[in-house]
C-alpha cells in the first residue's frame, strides 16, 4: 500500500473535519499551487485547546495529518500543542512515504499558525515561545 493503515483510517474517517464558528484563532498554511492548503480552527479556553477542527485541500496524507494533528492537541495546553512536531504526527500515523513528509510539516505549521494568531490577538507572542514559530518559515524539503 501507498499508505499505512493508520493513514488510510485517518484519511477515510478524518477526525475533526469542519469549522469552529466562534474559533479563538485559525491558521492557514500551504498553497493551492502545490496542491495542499490546511486551515486549522482552534477554540482555546484557559490556555487549553478545548476544540480543534480543520479543513484541508490536499492529498490523502495531507488530510490524514490534519486529522491526526488536531487529535493530538485537542484537550491539551497551548504549551503542549506548541511542542507538537511534524515527526510526532508522522510517527503517530505509523510513518509517511518520504515524498509525503512535507504534509506532516504542513500540519505542524497550521497548528502553530493558529496559536500564533491567538497570541497576537492576546498581547503578542511571549519571548520564550518565539522559537516555536521558526518552523513557519521552514522549507518542508528540509524535513
Amino acid at each position: 500500500m501507498l499508505y499505512s493503515d493508520k493513514v488510510m483510517d485517518h484519511f477515510m474517517h478524518p477526525r475533526n473535519v469542519g469549522e469552529i464558528e466562534d474559533a479563538s484563532a485559525t491558521g492557514t498554511v500551504g498553497n493551492a499551487k502545490c496542491g495542499d492548503i490546511m486551515k486549522v480552527y482552534l477554540k482555546i479556553e484557559d490556555n487549553i485547546v478545548v476544540d480543534a477542527k480543520f479543513k484541508t485541500f490536499g492529498c490523502g496524507s495531507a488530510i490524514a495529518t490534519s486529522s491526526m494533528a488536531t487529535e493530538m492537541i485537542k484537550g491539551h495546553t497551548i504549551d503542549e500543542a506548541l511542542s507538537l512536531t511534524n515527526k510526532a504526527v508522522a510517527e503517530a500515523l505509523d510513518g509517511l512515504p518520504p515524498v509525503k513528509m512535507h504534509c506532516s510539516l504542513l500540519a505542524e505549521q497550521a497548528v502553530k499558525a493558529a496559536i500564533k494568531e491567538y497570541y497576537e490577538k492576546h498581547g503578542g507572542i511571549p519571548e520564550d515561545k518565539m522559537k516555536f514559530f521558526d518552523v513557519l518559515d521552514e522549507d518542508e524539503h528540509s524535513v
Binding site: G30, G35, I37, K55, T56, E140
Partner: protein, 408 residues
Amino acid sequence: MAEKIVKRVYLDNAATTIVRSEVVDAMIPVFTENFGNASSIYLEGQKAKSTLEDARARIAACLNAEPSEIYFTSCGTESDNWAVKGTAFRYAKKGKHIITSAIEHHAVLHSCEALAKLGYEITYLPVDEYGLVDPAQVESAIRPDTILVTIMMANNEIGTVEPIEEIAKICKDKKILFHTDAVQAAGALPIDVKALGVDMLSLSGHKLHAPKGIGILYIRKGVAITNFMDGGAQERAKRAGTENLPYIIGFAKALELSLSEMQANIPRIEKIRDELIDAVLDAIPHVRLNGHPVKRLPGNANLSFEFIEGESLLLLLDFMGFACSSGSACTSGSLDPSHVLLAIGLPHEIAHGSLRVSIGKFNTEEEVMSIVPALQEIVQRLRDMSPLYEDFLNNKHTPYTPCNRCAK
C-alpha cells in the same frame, strides 16, 4: 463509505491494459516450445526466426509499412529514446536543434532534456487550450540547424489528437525528419504510416492488451539514425539484444485484433465516454472537461473538479472500486501538477484536481456510468472538507503562509 466494495471497475486503460486472453494464449507456447535464439542456424533457431519474421510482417501489414521498416524494442520509452537520441547523434554535424511540444510524454521530453545537457537546443512548442499543436508554429520554428521534429499523435493525459499529417507534410517539404509518439493512438485510431507521412513512429504493446515490455519503432526505409542499443546483429544490426519472441507474437496478435475490432469498438467506447462526460458535467458543478471536444481519443475523459485535490479523489474512488488516474501514472511520485494540464493553461490548483478516466474495450457502459454517483458523493465530501470551497462559498480568500517549496 463503510466497507471496501468488492467489484472493481478498471478505468485506467491509458496507463496500462490487461493482457487479453488471445494474446496470453498466443504467447504461452513460445516460452517452452519455440524458445530458440532467432540468430541460431539450427532448427530451433530457424523456427524462432520464421515466427519472428512472420510477426514482423503481420505488424507491418497493420501499419501499412514494409516489414523491413519495423524494429522491435523493449517499450514505448525505448522507441522514443531511440528516435530522438538516434537522430540527434546521427545528425549532430548538420545541426543540434530539435522541435517538440510542451505536452509530450516524459519519454520524449526527458530524452530531449538529456540531449540539452549535451549541447542540443530544444524548442518546446506551446499548445492551445485544447492541447493542439499549431502546424504553422512548427513551420516557423524550423531553422537551418533543425534536425528533428517530434510531436505525439495523441496525448496520454487529455487525449487530444494532433494534426500529424499536416506536420509531417511540413517536415517533408523542409526535409526535416519527423517522429511521432503513437503509443496512445495505437488501438484507438487507425495508423497508416504512409498516409501519415511520418519518418518514425513509436508504439507500445501494453496500451493495447499486449504485455508491458515490448515496443516498436517504425523507421521509414531510407531514414538512417544511430543505434541506441549496441551489441549483437539482431534487427538487421540496428537494435541489439536477443529477441523477445513471446511478446513480439503477443504484440502482433494484439495489434491485429485491435484493428479488426476497431470499427465496432470505437463508436461504442466513444458513446460511453460522451455519456459519461455529459452525466458528470450535469451532476456536478464546477467541473471542466480538458482536451479537445472532438479531436480526442475515443476512451479519454479528463475532468477537473474545482476546489479538490486529485490524489484524495483517486483514493476515495479506489476505495469505492474505481481505478482511475490523475495525470500520467508515470509522474506519480512527483508532487508537481501535470505539465500537460499546465500547458493548456489550467491554474495549478485546478490542475491538481483533475481526473483521467480512460475507457477500454472490456468496460461496459453500466460499469463506466456507475462512477457518476460515486464521483458526486466523493467530490461533495472533499469539497465539504476544502478550505478553497469554503472561501468560494463565502466569496472570500483566506490569507495563507506562502509555500517555500513552490516559491523557489
